[in-house]
C-alpha cells in the first residue's frame, strides 16, 4: 500500500469518498433524496459537524436548496440517483444559465444493470443537453479528488458541475488518502437580475454566456490532467472513462489509453492526437455510445462495442469480447430455483396486497419495497413507473374503465416517503377534476427500500433531530379529500373493510395503512406464530401471503404438505393466523 506518512488512508466506498471530498472542499450545505446507488453520500455528510446536510422531499427541492445556498455564497452539493435527475432537470437546465456565487456540484449516480432501479438511462446525456461540464471518477480516490476539482471548476467557470458515478463506483470500495478541509470563506450574494432572474430578455443574454463558457470548457477538457493519455502499445488505443476504464485496463493491460475523467465537453484535440498515435481506436463505455458517436462526428475512425452491449453492466471479460477476443465462458447452471428479493417477515405491506388481490383490484403501483408485491405469490401490482406515478396512473385507469365499462376496482398504492416526494400534486388533480379514485398510502414511517431514511412525515431530520411532523391525513384533507381513513395493516378485517368502502365510495378516498417498518422494530418482542399440526389441512392459503417465515413440509393430512413457521424469522405480525380458515395458526403466549 502506497501511503504518504502524513496522510491517513481509509477504505471508502465511492459515495463515502464523495462525501469526504465535499468536506475537504469546504461544502456547507448538502441536500438529497435517498435513491440507490446514491443514498450514502448524504448519510455520510451528516457525520460532518459543520455541514448542513438534509433530506429534501424530492430531488428537485434538494437541487433548488443547494442552488440557493451556492447563490447565497457557500459551496453546496445535491446528490441523487439517475432518475432523480429527471425530477431535478427543470432546475438544472436553467441554473446552467445563471451560474451561482459559490461552487455547486450535482452528483448523479447511474445504475447500469438496474440493480435497484426502474430503468438504466445514461445521464451523460444530461451534461450535453444542459451544456454543463461532467466529471466521471473511476475509483474512490478519484471520487474524492474529482469532487474537489468540480468545485474549483464550478467557481472558475461559473457553472454547476455534474459528477456522474455508476453503481460500481458508488458502492465499490477502495483505499482513499484523506486530505485537510479547505478553509471556507463565504462569498457575498450580489443582486444581479440580468444573471439570476430568467425572464426571456435576460435568458437570451445568458444563453450567449453559456455557449461561450462551453467553448472555454472544451479548451479546459483538452488540457486538464483529468483527461490523460497513457501510452502502451500503439497497436490498440482505447478511449474510456469511469468504471469502464478499469475493465478495459484489466482486459488489455498492454494497450494505450485515453482515460477520460471529464466526459463533457469532450477533449477533441486530445482525442485527435491520441487517434493519430494508435493503429486502431476503440471506445469502451457502458450503456449508450455517448463517446463513440461524438468521436465519430469529429471525423475520426473509431470502433465501439456491439449494440447488444448497450444493455447492462460491463466487466473485464465482456470488454475483452467487445475487443474481439474469443472466449467461451462457463454458463450458469440452468435448473436452479430463483431467489428474488422478498417482503420481510412481518412487513406491514404484505397484508395490504393480500387484500387488494383478494378484491381483484387493478393496482397502480409505485417505487418502494412494496413493488416486490408484483412477484409470486402475491402478484398484486399492475404498474410501476416512477416516484408518485401511482396516483395519476390510478386516476387515468379509472377514467378509462368508466369509458370502457370495466367494472374492476382501481387502487393507487404508494409509500409515505413516495407520497411526499411527488404524490401530492396528482392527489390534488383527482379532487380538482372531480375524480373518485382510491389511493392507499403505505405509511411505514420511513423510506425503507433505500435503508430506512427519515422524511418530512417521520418527524425527524437526516441527523435524527426532532422536527415538525408532516401529518399525512391533514395533508390529504387539505388537498380536498374529505374521506381519509387510517387503519392498522396488521388488522386484515379492518383493512378489508376500509378498502371495500373506499373503492365503493362515489368520491376520492385515501386509506392510510399505518404501521412502522418491521426493520425499525428489531428487538421488539412479539409472540411468534405456531402451526397447530392437527388443525392444518395443508390448503396452502397462508403461503399466498409470501411471508419468508412460512413454508410447507411433508406430513400433512391426505398426503398434503403442512404449514411450518420458522420461529427465528417470525415477526409475530399475526397475518397468517388471520388468513387461516381453520384456526391452525396461533400466536404463542409470551
Amino acid at each position: 500500500m502506497v501511503s504518504d506518512s502524513k496522510q491517513r488512508t481509509e477504505l471508502l466506498s465511492g459515495n463515502e469518498a464523495i462525501a469526504r471530498g465535499a468536506y475537504e472542499a469546504g461544502v456547507k450545505v448538502a441536500a438529497a433524496y435517498p435513491g440507490t446507488p446514491s443514498t450514502e453520500i448524504l448519510e455520510r455528510l451528516t457525520s460532518y459537524e459543520d455541514i448542513h446536510a438534509q433530506w429534501s422531499p424530492n430531488e428537485k427541492v434538494a437541487l433548488d436548496v443547494a442552488f440557493g445556498a451556492a447563490l447565497g455564497g457557500v459551496r453546496a452539493l445535491a446528490a441523487m440517483k439517475h432518475v432523480g435527475l429527471n425530477v431535478a432537470a427543470d432546475s438544472l437546465f436553467t441554473i446552467a444559465y445563471t451560474g451561482a456565487t459559490a461552487g455547486l456540484v450535482i452528483v448523479t449516480a447511474d445504475d447500469p444493470g438496474m440493480h435497484s432501479s426502474q430503468n438504466e438511462q445514461d445521464n451523460r446525456h444530461y451534461a450535453r443537453a444542459a451544456k454543463v461540464p461532467m466529471l466521471e471518477p473511476a475509483d474512490s480516490q478519484e471520487a474524492k479528488d474529482f469532487v474537489i476539482e468540480a468545485f474549483r471548476m464550478s467557481e472558475e467557470f461559473d457553472t454547476p458541475v455534474l459528477l456522474r458515478t455508476t453503481t460500481r463506483i458508488s458502492h465499490g470500495k477502495s483505499p482513499v488518502r484523506l486530505g485537510k478541509p479547505r478553509p471556507a470563506s463565504p462569498a457575498r450574494f450580489e443582486r444581479d437580475a440580468r444573471k439570476y432572474v430568467m425572464i426571456p430578455g435576460h435568458a437570451r443574454l445568458r444563453h450567449v454566456a453559456v455557449e461561450e463558457r462551453l467553448e472555454r470548457l472544451r479548451q479546459l477538457s483538452n488540457t486538464t490532467p483529468l483527461n490523460r493519455i497513457e501510452m502502451g502499445s500503439p497497436d490498440l488505443g482505447i478511449v474510456a472513462g469511469g468504471v469502464a476504464y478499469q475493465y478495459a485496463r484489466e482486459a488489455q493491460p498492454d494497450a494505450s489509453f485515453l482515460k477520460l475523467g471529464m466526459s463533457h465537453p469532450l477533449p477533441d484535440d486530445l482525442i485527435r492526437e491520441f487517434a493519430s498515435r494508435v493503429k486502431r481506436l476503440f471506445v469502451i463505455e457502458e450503456l449508450d455510445p455517448f463517446l463513440q458517436e461524438q468521436i465519430a462526428a469529429l471525423g475520426i475512425e473509431v470502433c465501439g462495442k456491439p449494440a447488444s452491449m448497450r444493455l447492462g453492466e460491463l466487466d473485464a471479460r465482456l470488454v475483452a469480447a467487445a475487443l474481439g477476443e474469443e472466449s467461451a465462458p462457463a454458463q450458469p447452471l440452468a435448473d436452479l430455483p430463483a431467489r428474488p428479493p422478498v417482503l420481510c417477515p412481518g412487513c406491514p405491506h404484505s397484508g395490504v396486497f393480500y387484500v387488494l388481490r383478494k378484491l381483484k383490484a387493478v393496482v397502480a403501483g409505485d417505487i418502494g419495497c412494496y413493488t416486490l408485491s408484483v412477484l409470486p405469490p402475491l402478484e398484486a401490482m399492475d404498474t410501476c413507473i416512477c416516484m408518485g406515478a401511482a396516483v395519476g396512473n390510478a386516476e387515468g385507469l379509472e377514467r378509462a374503465f368508466a369509458v370502457a365499462g370495466d367494472e374492476r376496482p382501481v387502487v393507487g398504492t404508494l409509500g409515505d416517503s413516495t407520497f411526499v416526494h411527488s404524490g401530492i400534486a396528482p392527489l390534488i388533480d383527482i379532487v380538482y377534476n372531480r375524480g373518485t379514485t382510491t389511493i392507499v398510502i403505505l405509511d411505514n414511517r420511513t423510506t425503507a427500500m433505500t435503508g430506512r431514511q427519515d422524511h418530512p412525515a417521520t418527524g425527524r431530520t437526516a441527523r435524527g433531530e426532532q422536527t415538525r411532523e408532516l401529518d399525512l391525513g391533514a395533508m390529504c384533507r387539505a388537498c380536498g379529500v374529505d374521506d381519509v381513513a387510517t387503519v392498522d395493516p396488521y388488522d386484515l378485517e379492518a383493512l378489508e373493510g376500509a378498502l371495500r368502502r373506499a373503492i365503493a365510495a362515489p368520491h376520492p378516498c385515501v386509506v392510510i395503512t399505518r404501521r412502522e417498518c418491521v426493520l425499525l422494530r428489531r428487538g421488539e418482542e412479539r409472540a411468534p406464530a405456531r402451526v397447530v399440526e392437527e388443525e392444518c389441512i395443508g390448503c396452502g392459503l397462508c403461503l399466498t401471503l409470501g411471508c419468508p417465515a412460512l413454508s410447507a413440509e411433508p406430513g400433512g393430512p391426505r398426503g398434503r404438505p403442512r404449514a411450518v413457521v420458522t420461529r427465528e424469522m417470525c415477526a409475530g405480525c399475526g397475518l397468517c393466523a388471520q388468513i387461516c380458515r381453520h384456526e391452525a395458526i396461533v400466536l404463542e403466549q409470551t
Binding site: M1, S116, K173, P340, P341, P376, P548
Partner: protein
C-alpha cells in the same frame, strides 16, 4: 504485475456478507495489498441472492470478478454456491457453509431445493470444503457470527498474517460483540484447510 486474486462471497441478503467482506478487506489492507470490493445495496438486500466481489493484489483495476475468474467462492448458503459456481476458475475452491435457506420460489412454486449440493459440486469437478458455519457460530455463542466463522476458514487460504485478522475484527465490530466474533473466527480458522498451491 502479479495477477490479482479474486474472492467472491455469495449468499442471501441479511446473512452478514457485508460485515464479513469488510473484515476481509481490512485484513488484506493491513497486510499491505491493494484492495477493491464491490457489492450492491438496495432492493437485492431484501432476502434476495447477493454477491460481493473482493479483489486484491499489487495492482487492481476492475471492481468485478469475471465469469471463470474467482479463485475462491465463499458460499454462505448452499443453493447460492450453485448459482455462482460458474464464476469459479478451473482448480478454484468453494468454501461451502452447510446453511440452507429455502427461497420463496421453492416455498410456493414447483421448484425443488437442490438435493446434495456438495455432491453436485463434486460432479462438476469443483473442489469444495464444507464448513458447518452455523454450528461453529452456535458454539461461539451467537448464531449471527456464522459469516465470521466462514471468514476464519477463508483466512487459511489467503496471504495475510494471522494478527491482521484479529485487528480487522476488533476495528469493525462493536465492543460487546467483539469476543464472540473473535471466537467464531478462531473456530472457523481451525477447520479451514491450509493454503492450496495456486
Amino acid at each position: 504485475m502479479i495477477r490479482p486474486m479474486n474472492v467472491m462471497l455469495v449468499g442471501v441478503g441479511g446473512q452478514g456478507i457485508i460485515l464479513a467482506s469488510e473484515v476481509l478487506c481490512h485484513a488484506l489492507l493491513g497486510a499491505g495489498w491493494q484492495v477493491k470490493k464491490s457489492e450492491v445495496h438496495g432492493m437485492a438486500q431484501r432476502g434476495g441472492s447477493v454477491r460481493t466481489d473482493v479483489r486484491f493484489g499489487t495492482e487492481v483495476h476492475a471492481p468485478l470478478i469475471s465469469v471463470g475468474a474467482a479463485d475462491i467462492l465463499v458460499a454462505f448458503e448452499q443453493l447460492e454456491a450453485l448459482r455462482y459456481v460458474h464464476f469459479l476458475r478451473p482448480q478454484g475452491l468453494v468454501l461451502l457453509s452447510t446453511e440452507r435457506i429455502t427461497p420463496v420460489t421453492v416455498l410456493t412454486g414447483p421448484y425443488p431445493y437442490p438435493a446434495d449440493v456438495p455432491a453436485r459440486l463434486d460432479n462438476l469437478g469443483v473442489q469444495a470444503q464444507v464448513i458447518n458455519a452455523p454450528e461453529l457460530a452456535a458454539r461461539a455463542g451467537n448464531p449471527r457470527t456464522a459469516g465470521i466463522a466462514l471468514v476464519g476458514a477463508l483466512s487459511k487460504h489467503l496471504p495475510v498474517p494471522a494478527p491482521k485478522w484479529g485487528k480487522a475484527i476488533t476495528g469493525l465490530v462493536p465492543e460487546r460483540y467483539r469476543e464472540v466474533n473473535l471466537d467464531a473466527f478462531r473456530r472457523g480458522r481451525r477447520v479451514g484447510a491450509p493454503a492450496l498451491a495456486t
